[in-house]
Amino acid sequence: MKKALSIILLFFLFLISYFIQSNLFSWFTIAGIKPNVFIILVLYIGLYAGRRVGSALGIVFGLLLDIFMGRQIGISGILLGTVGFAGGYLDKNFSKDSKITIILMCIATTFFYEIINYIFLVLMYKMEFEILAIAKIAIIEGLYNSMIIIIIYPFTRWVGYKIEDIFKRSNILTRYF
């Protein structure tokens, strides 16, 4: 029951993120580059709720984004699913209690997401590969995302532990002791 409720809550968070991304960040940009709050959301879900929930919700959110705004259905689904999976995997090997680790994870996943997404696009639409442009986008977007993480860190930590408590109750103790 609690799990279902928290999944509904996460879905609401996704909708809020969508409105923030499409309204606020369409003009609040750094050098014309927007952040990607969906990467942050799915990474956090992966970190706190585990890789199964992370990748499942990542795929669902990604497919929804593809339907809403994408050029073709699938790419964001696969990539956000991978980000969720990576979140769960990283949680096993790194501590998410440190701000720096989360920031580094966020930068790495943003790089991965944008660059693979771009390679997909280049192959699909036979576009010119603009390495400098994509590097600039990935770097600025990664930094922008980490700035957002710093701002929302206390809130996400609080919500994150609540979610972890619901999804990984049996595993928490074995992880700490």
């Binding site: 969508y18 927007k34 705004m69």
Partner: protein, 256 residues
């Protein structure tokens, strides 16, 4: 007794002003309060009728204010509608040869890798895929997917977009591609070796390929980059449309 009375009554008032002051300081506040109460009691009826009147008046004024505010809002809506209709008029007058459907932009792209728009008309309004979308300034792009009430538009500055264009003076054909780096400019390639390009020349759609209608303004040449090999030279075309600020567009109906 009489002597005392005479003496006191003949005392100069100024000599006892200190005592008076002290007394009045003690009494006056209470007196003021009492007088106020007394007056209130005396004018009791008028006080309450006044309140009733005021309340009624207040209610009436509030109602009036509300009505005025409503009509102001209505006027504002009409004003906005008027300006957008005027804009549509200007656009339709400009492109009289096409049969068009006006639309508003309701969403912009959320990703950094593509530049799409969502407009508020869809299959119910007769929109299908691959319809040309224009604005007052020039070419915007084409529809790539349609739902009942919305349509996704791939703009010409999207990095996956290619438009077949022609220089309006010399009619030389060129290929215009959107780039990831630049949101406002297009890169013109496949420029014929014999073609002469001049900065400031305007570029329009050539109609080749059948995706875009012929003769729609795209932009102006701002820079020509010559390379060692003349076939590799390219030009930068500044798009006529400002994609960050675009709000109203027209969709050209196919085959009409």
């Amino acid at each position: 007794m009489l002597i005392i009375l005479v003496t006191v009554s003949n005392l100069n008032m100024e000599n006892i002003s200190g005592v008076e002051n002290a007394f009045s300081m003690l009494v006056m506040p209470i007196q003021n309060g009492l007088t106020y109460l007394k007056n209130r009691m005396a004018g009791n009826d008028s006080f309450f009728t006044n309140i009733n009147n005021l309340q009624a008046e207040n209610k009436e004024l509030k109602e009036k204010n509300k009505q005025l505010e409503e009509s102001l809002r209505e006027l504002e809506v009409i004003k906005a509608e008027n300006s957008s209709l005027k804009e549509y008029m200007k656009m339709t007058e400009k492109y009289t040869e096409f049969s068009t459907i006006p639309a508003n932009v309701i969403n912009r792209d959320i990703s950094n890798l593509s530049r799409m728009l969502v407009i508020n008309i869809g299959s119910k309004d007769g929109i299908t895929e691959n319809m040309t979308v224009i604005s007052q300034e020039g070419l915007v792009g084409h529809t790539i997917s349609v739902t009942e009430h919305t349509a996704k538009v791939q703009t010409i500055v999207d990095s996956a977009s290619t438009v077949s264009g022609a220089i309006s003076t010399s009619r030389d054909g060129i290929l215009l591609k959107g780039t990831l780096e630049d949101k406002k400019n297009l890169k013109a390639t496949f420029i014929p070796a014999e073609a002469t390009l001049v900065q400031g020349d305007s570029v329009e759609t050539s109609g080749m390929g059948g995706l875009y209608e012929k003769g729609i303004h795209i932009g102006t040449i701002t820079e020509i980059v010559n390379t060692k090999n003349i076939t590799n030279r390219y030009a930068i075309i500044k798009a006529a449309v400002n994609f960050d600020k675009i709000e109203t567009v027209l969709v050209i109906k196919k085959g009409e």
